[in-house]
């Protein structure tokens, strides 16, 4: 007989991890192509609000997910336009994408604050109160299984397909890739939009299942933790998933500490994930001594010198 509290903790861990993992996986794909997109927070927010609005208005959950994913991907294409086509600074563009995304979603969602969802993303089985590890695993909603699937697919695509190899070549050495005839700009553009789509999926998971409602700035830094997760995972999908589980566990554990007899101020409890993220980054950097596994060309705009 396993403690019912532990079951709840496990369930909450999976849900928090799913949210972080999908966004991190998308950013991983973008960064593999040599494009750094610091706009994850803004992209999640755009996906979250558009998905929620669609769900409220149409009560069609499938359409809501689709709209969230596509709008976030379209939003990411601004970053692709500015950095890939127009070769401007990736850090600046990404940061502004976050600021713009948060402002835009607050504007869009103004009339949706406090609205309730009639239909939301439900678990795939009818188990609503899981009482064993197995029941937790089979009672998650569709996006959890999609995330697991995406993890395998992404890993396979990166390692074993032409697109994946092209992506890696472009991110490692865009100049050589270009002289070999690879389409650098096209690859980077696609990778950025895919990253946006993943962030959008994470966003709809947030508003259609995880919380589920809409309020301003509800992403509360998860996009930035996702960025840290990519570094944590050394730009590898499985390790990133492991990192997501660790952070998901912490996010799930901290509010439960009180039930285990720890006396902590709830306000201090709230900041622990951010403190831990910094600690983990420091430990990781010391441990790896600079060899992080980052794509070599990350952040460097590609421009073909004409002779």
């Amino acid at each position: 007989m396993i403690d019912i509290q532990l079951i709840g903790l496990f369930n909450a861990t999976l849900q928090a991890a799913t949210l972080l993992f999908i966004a991190a996986l998308g950013e991983l794909i973008t960064e593999k192509s040599g494009i750094l997109n610091l706009g994850v927070e803004g992209m999640i927010s755009v996906g979250a609000v558009t998905g929620f609005m669609t769900a409220v208005n149409t009560e069609n959950i499938f359409l809501a997910v689709l709209v969230g994913v596509l709008s976030s991907s379209a939003f990411a294409s601004i970053h692709a336009l500015v950095t890939v086509v127009l070769k401007q600074d990736q850090t600046v563009s990404g940061l502004i994408l976050t600021i713009l995304g948060l402002a835009l979603s607050s504007l869009l969602g103004k009339n949706y604050v406090g609205k309730k969802l009639v239909t939301k993303l439900e678990g795939v089985t009818s188990v609503t109160d899981p009482s064993s590890i197995l029941e937790v695993l089979i009672s998650q909603n569709i996006i959890f299984y999609l995330a697991v699937l995406l993890m395998f697919i992404t890993s396979f695509v990166l390692k074993h397909t032409m697109f994946g190899r092209r992506l890696e070549a472009v991110g490692e050495d865009s100049r050589s890739s270009d002289s070999m005839g690879l389409k650098v700009a096209k690859t980077q553009f696609i990778a950025t939009c895919v990253g946006g789509a993943f962030a959008g999926l994470s966003g709809v998971y947030l508003t259609l299942s995880y919380v589920p409602y809409w309020t301003d700035n509800m992403t509360s830094g998860r996009g930035w933790i996702a960025l840290a997760l990519v570094i944590f995972g050394g730009w590898k999908p499985y390790r990133t998933a492991l990192g997501a589980l660790l952070f998901g566990f912490l996010e799930a554990l901290v509010p439960r500490l009180q039930t285990y007899g720890f006396e902590l101020s709830p306000y201090i409890v709230k900041i622990t994930p951010y403190v831990i993220t910094i600690l983990v980054l420091v430990i990781l950097t010391i441990y790896k001594g600079g060899k992080t596994g980052a794509p070599k060309n990350i952040g460097v705009p590609f421009f073909r010198e004409n002779r």
């Binding site: 070769k87 401007q88 402002a103 910094i278």
Partner: protein
């Protein structure tokens, strides 16, 4: 066959940043107009109302300039850190910790001279901002941890600490359900120059000149640029790049912390969540859009301050205040797009 090819221009117009900004601003106003039209609001009426309520009278103009103070100071901090090619995304947290440091010192010390008291409190704000960036600075120069993520995460940490303080140890029982610390005494309020314009604006002018000197005229600024430019050159020139980066980060954080001190002593008069309304993030736009030039930051800061005031007053006619955030962000995106045409040339070439 004809083909379009991209060429880097031999020389870039000196005023290209300025022109890019102007055109970017026009693009942003256009985008803002579309958003207003979608919401069934007349853009011309709305923008002229915004203009009137942000610069139309001495009172509104001084409110706008007050709003510019934190944007300019935090923007200057970001630009100083950029000299060593580092990003400060943590200005928001530094503003809060600056205010917290001021309040801490205010509670725990007593001065006979109000002028000296205010002076010491302003220094406390600067130190608070530096303290806020201390951990990202140490982890950057000692271990090489990405400062973008660590400075950003400190925003959430400091905001959490602020919430803790104003709900717990510092909670003013008189503020009832609104969590806030007790007001500071009137003797430490910053005086006003004219209208509502705070003395902080003069500090702002002083620090703009200081940042300009530090970045462009001083030996330290020169060393910072070399340290940020090439690690090898720095070694040859005998410059300790890590030390320059560390100092630049502490100064950058201090500028934002000072902004927090001024907000506390001239606007809110107490520590609450209202100390900063995203100033640290808007400051990133202000700094980036001017190509990190202190004088530009001062001017754009004033414009964006007016835009924020305009945005908050049009809420009364049912327009979301986020419209000014969107205009600010779109200005930078517009400017980036225009900057491309100043840097590159598209030519038709014949393929062989």
């Amino acid at each position: 066959m004809n083909n379009l090819k991209l060429f880097k221009r031999q020389s870039i117009n000196e005023l290209s940043t300025f022109y890019s900004f102007l055109i970017g601003f026009v693009i942003a106003i256009f985008i803002g107009s579309i958003i207003l039209l979608v919401q069934d609001k007349n853009p011309i009426d709305t923008f002229s109302l915004m203009l009137r309520l942000s610069v139309g009278s001495i009172n509104s103009l001084s409110s706008s300039l007050n709003k510019a103070i934190p944007l300019i100071l935090a923007g200057l901090g970001i630009s100083i850190m950029n000299s060593v090619k580092l990003w400060n995304i943590g200005a928001e947290g530094q503003i809060f910790l600056g205010a917290i440091a001021v309040n801490y010192l205010y509670i725990n010390t007593q001065f006979n001279s109000p002028t000296l008291h205010i002076f010491v409190l302003l220094i406390a704000g600067f130190v608070g901002g530096s303290l806020c960036i201390l951990i990202p600075a140490i982890t950057k120069v000692v271990f090489g941890v990405n400062e973008i993520i660590t400075t950003l995460l400190t925003n959430y940490i400091v905001f959490g600490i602020t919430i803790f303080l104003i709900n717990g140890p510092w909670k003013d029982p008189k503020s009832l359900n609104f969590p806030a610390a007790a007001y500071v005494g009137e003797e430490v309020f910053l005086p006003t120059i004219f209208g509502k314009l705070s003395f902080g604006f003069l500090i702002c002018i002083l620090f703009t000149a200081l940042a300009h000197y530090l970045k462009n005229k001083s030996v330290f600024g020169f060393e910072m640029r070399i340290a940020g430019g090439s690690a090898l050159t720095a070694v040859y020139a005998g410059i300790n790049a890590r030390q320059k980066a560390f100092i630049a980060m502490l100064i950058g954080g201090g500028f934002a912390g000072l902004a927090g001190a001024i907000e506390l002593l001239s606007q809110t008069h107490r520590v609450s969540t209202g100390i900063s309304q995203g100033f640290g993030y808007t400051a990133i736009i202000v700094a980036a859009i001017t190509g990190m030039r202190p004088l530009g930051i001062f001017l754009v800061g004033c414009l964006f301050g007016a835009l924020s005031i305009g945005g908050s007053v049009i809420q009364t006619i049912g327009v979301s205040a986020y419209i000014s955030d969107i205009i600010q962000a779109s200005t930078l995106f517009g400017a980036l797009i225009i900057q491309f045409f100043f840097t590159y040339q598209i030519k038709k070439v014949e393929n062989d």
